[in-house]
Symmetry: C2
Subunit: 566 residues, 2 copies
């Protein structure tokens, strides 16, 4: 590793940073650690810098008791530790690239500030959905400290009795807000335009979240939009949905996503891509050599699809800030890794997490892939307290991991972090099979769920055990024999209509029955989760039958096709 | 991926597997799934197959209530599901390689069994340390179900009142046994020949475990050996230690490690390496083309050092079994990955975990490395319940990760699994810095501890912030100015004698004082964990001083040099 790169003039200089959260503040701190002489000015339009954006729902819920805990640093603490000149209430209204100046508006007036290097970290702005009545005082958002204060004050004013909230948008922050409002004693309905909650999650995993929401008395309206908010009785409002439903609410929280805040960049003539995000190079530099940009407002490259667009995640923003500081001070920058979109959310007792490309993205991008699904315990089954993890992963035909998703009550974050690391390393099913993860009974299994994903993918990809998928069910019913190899007790609790039933332990003795029933058709085997039917499929294949195993078993099938449950 | 490899004769064949736990049973199950026609005979000398070896301490403690939970499968269940011919109480006494037969001894006599393919999974045997009196009935081991039954019966017989146990050997299983015996109400002393508990752990992390043991009233005798066990008063024994101490005990548990069980292989003339483990190729095949071997008895290659020897871990054993089955049935085998030695143990409320090479191993192997140490919270600090993780990692001069270790109350397993995955992928400090791990406040931080390791290693390796290390203290005191930049309150609670104290927020204003005190000497900066002193070191370097930052800060320094604590 080398330290300095040539070509940057030494001597006094001024670095101006627009936006004092996440990426902007990471850049400011790194810049100071690299350059003790530079003047570093951070201009933040709000009254708060370096606040814990991701913590807002958890103060609303009361889990983070002290509001000040969200304020990680203040202008004073940043001045003392890092000699930063942090100016809140300072909005940058224009950039003069030729003069290398920004125009700053404060409560006291307007001034111009020159820069040697400018970093834009403007973040994102909330998307304003086409709903009539969004200006009603009962309608809130949850992006900033003032948003939080207003919402918190409103909830406190309502008290706990019979107050109702409608949350519009069931993405990551929307779901955190739902949980927070329930914790505050409100009756909550959530409305999601997509056909399931947490749209980045594969549809087959979403029912687990829906069940968890319903178990906490949350009303769920998916596949519909909010159309209008109108005054109701007392101080309440009526929220009219696209399906004709009207929900009464004492407060409405709208959280339908964000878009890059790029007005400043556009006005300055910086290059902006078709997704509306600022174009940057591998060093975070914009089309102007004196201007860098980071965070929710800039383009990133998706690791799996190669798609270019913004990604509103704190982790990448922080690392971009560090890279931008290295670049503007002429240092070797850490090679930029494409973005995986790793994200996680707690929904009451469940955790849902994703990394890489989901099935819908792969299908839309036309990327060939095989999906594998397992439902293992989060640690050894013989150790008390093992919680089931529902784990889905997609692999390219050559075995390369493309994406993974998981939902469960424990151990979800660990597996997704391991898989995110594996994705970064371009690992294959073979590599996952050989990962050597920490095993003792309280923590995992000798064959960790991640190893199991590798094993199952190897078997599916090399033809050892061909798969069928829950979405194939109609074709499977039309053209094949469905063979259920679960126990009689399991079969009696619910099964596919018309399925043949032979417990897997009896299969070898009853092959003639299967052969007769199949009558030349393929045999579509399933069990509860895919383990016993894997053995059964191998038995049938060895007998010369055209057999395949249901990926994910009855557990996934009934999530995808709830109409099947008797 | 391709399925079949040429050169293996189809048709009926018999696979004989010696040893019915972990690797042996993984091989048997995989072989059946691949070949429905083969006769598969599993010969197990004990009365139990497929039992949860790693679960024994947790049934002893009572945490796993049902003893049957440890018996994952029975000969009957394996016969029904996988058509395996499992024979317990069947000891293989000899292999005739020319005739391709094994001699089997049972309670009913002896017979000979032919094989087409033979798999040896004999496991390891407990090392019998040179202690007089090991045959006393109060002395136990904990490797098998009968061991567990005897120990459990003994503990039950003792009752809870004032019973005392001595555990000899504070490795992974020894520490689990200590916890179990404490849970059963015994007063426990633990004796470890190495100079600290859990010898694979770096010495600097061991004091955390020692403190946790003492907090549970466990007596700790490290750096000493047990010499003799002699009858004491009543049914108790006296355990004489090498330092002259005598410990009274109602029971003694000896667990000082294992060695490969290779008598059978040696007698058969199979190649055995200098460490006493059976030599195998990348397909687990021994020097005889019809014999494969897996598990604790075989050689593996260490991923970091390239050292060859046995590793008694369940995960590798299971994967080796699967590979051996693929190989003996002519399948493409999963490419063998070298072993990282990933391991984990719960010690009361703490978790300790390791992967890759530790500092002692790197030093002995003469592998140049830089050690970095951090003490972050396991999730965002502003979210309640953040527990400190003590994380140590070593990097090659080119930035490649070589090993990592962690101790803490939460989130340890996740970070070590991520780092084990990173090790497998030959990742560097740059790669760790760019890992995109799942972040929401209950799970991690926008800059995860693993990212932080990468940042700190980058700064240390590229010279941005040179480090000094706790073990350098004597030289540092002799030749440099020690500058403590913590707060006055922290300084007053304990500090290095002779250290200069300037809080980091005052440093820029007091540089002249530092310059005067240094008088041309280097300045060795430290704070509590290394964060504030990183900033301070950069300030001093910018001022032209020769400054460096204490890796791990006061937290690691006082663990390594407890004599410093006032």
């Amino acid at each position: 590793m080398q330290i300095e790169q040539p070509g940057f003039a030494p001597g006094p200089r001024r670095i101006v940073i627009v936006g004092g959260v996440a990426g902007g503040m990471s850049a400011a701190a790194r810049a100071r650690r690299l350059d003790e002489q530079a003047e570093i000015v951070v201009l933040e339009q709000s009254d708060y810098v370096s606040f814990a954006n991701c913590g807002l729902p958890y103060h609303l819920s009361g889990e983070i008791k002290d509001r000040d805990a969200l304020l990680l640093n203040t202008p004073e603490s940043l001045g003392a530790a890092l000699a930063l000149d942090v100016r809140t209430g300072s909005r940058v209204t224009a950039i003069d690239r030729a003069a290398q100046t920004v125009s700053v508006t404060t409560a006291d007036g307007t001034y111009t500030l020159t820069y040697d290097a400018l970093l834009l970290s403007p973040g994102a702005v909330a998307v304003r959905p086409p709903i009539d009545g969004l200006d009603h005082p009962a309608v809130h958002s949850l992006r900033t400290i003032p948003d939080l204060d207003a919402l918190d004050e409103h909830v406190t004013r309502l008290g706990r009795d019979r107050a109702r909230a409608v949350v519009v948008g069931a993405g990551f922050i929307g779901l955190e807000a739902v949980e927070a409002l329930v914790a505050r004693g409100l009756e909550v309905d959530v409305v999601e335009l997509a056909d399931h909650v947490l749209p980045p999650l594969d549809a087959e995993l979403a029912p687990l979240l829906a069940d968890e929401l319903r178990a906490h008395d949350v009303g769920l309206y998916a596949g519909v939009s909010a159309r209008a908010i109108t005054p109701g009785t007392d101080s309440a409002v009526d929220v009219a949905l696209s399906d004709g439903t009207t929900l009464s609410a004492d407060l409405v929280l709208v959280n339908v996503g964000v878009r890059p805040a790029t007005r400043l960049a556009l006005d300055a003539g910086l290059e902006v891509g078709p997704t509306g995000a600022v174009r940057v190079d591998a060093d975070q530099r914009t089309s102007d050599p004196h201007i860098w940009a980071v965070g929710d407002a800039v383009e990133v490259i998706h690791a799996v699809t190669g798609a270019v667009g913004p990604v509103p995640l704190a982790g990448p923003a922080n690392r971009q800030g560090r890279r931008a500081a290295d670049s503007m001070l002429g240092r070797r920058t850490t090679p930029r890794a494409p973005v995986l979109g790793t994200a996680i959310v707690r929904v009451f007792g469940l955790t849902a997490a994703v990394t890489g490309a989901n099935q819908r993205t792969l299908a839309r991008a036309g990327i060939p892939h095989e999906v594998v699904r397992i439902h293992p315990g989060h640690h050894a089954g013989y150790f008390p307290g093992a919680e089931q993890i529902h784990l889905v992963a997609s692999f390219a035909p050559d075995g390369r991991l493309l994406g993974a998703q998981a939902v469960g009550r424990a151990g979800v974050d660990k597996r997704i972090d391991v898989l995110a690391t594996a994705l970064r390393a371009d690992m294959t099913a073979d590599d996952l099979a050989e990962l050597e993860l920490a095993y003792a009974p309280p923590y995992g299994s000798a064959k960790d769920p991640v190893n199991m994903l590798g094993f199952v993918a190897q078997n599916a990809l090399d033809g050892t055990t061909p798969q069928w998928h829950p979405t194939d069910l109609d074709d499977v019913l039309a053209d094949t024999l469905v063979l259920d190899v679960r126990t009689t007790a399991e079969f009696d609790r619910g099964h596919v209509k018309g399925a043949m039933h032979i417990p897997h332990t009896e299969l070898r003795a009853r092959l003639a029955e299967v052969r007769a029933a199949a009558a030349g058709r393929p045999v579509s085997v399933h069990c509860g989760s895919g383990v016993r039917s894997h053995i059964a499929t191998r038995v049938l294949l060895a007998d010369g039958l055209d057999a395949r195993n249901l990926s994910g078993g009855w557990l996934t099938l009934t999530a995808v096709r709830p109409d099947l449950v008797a």
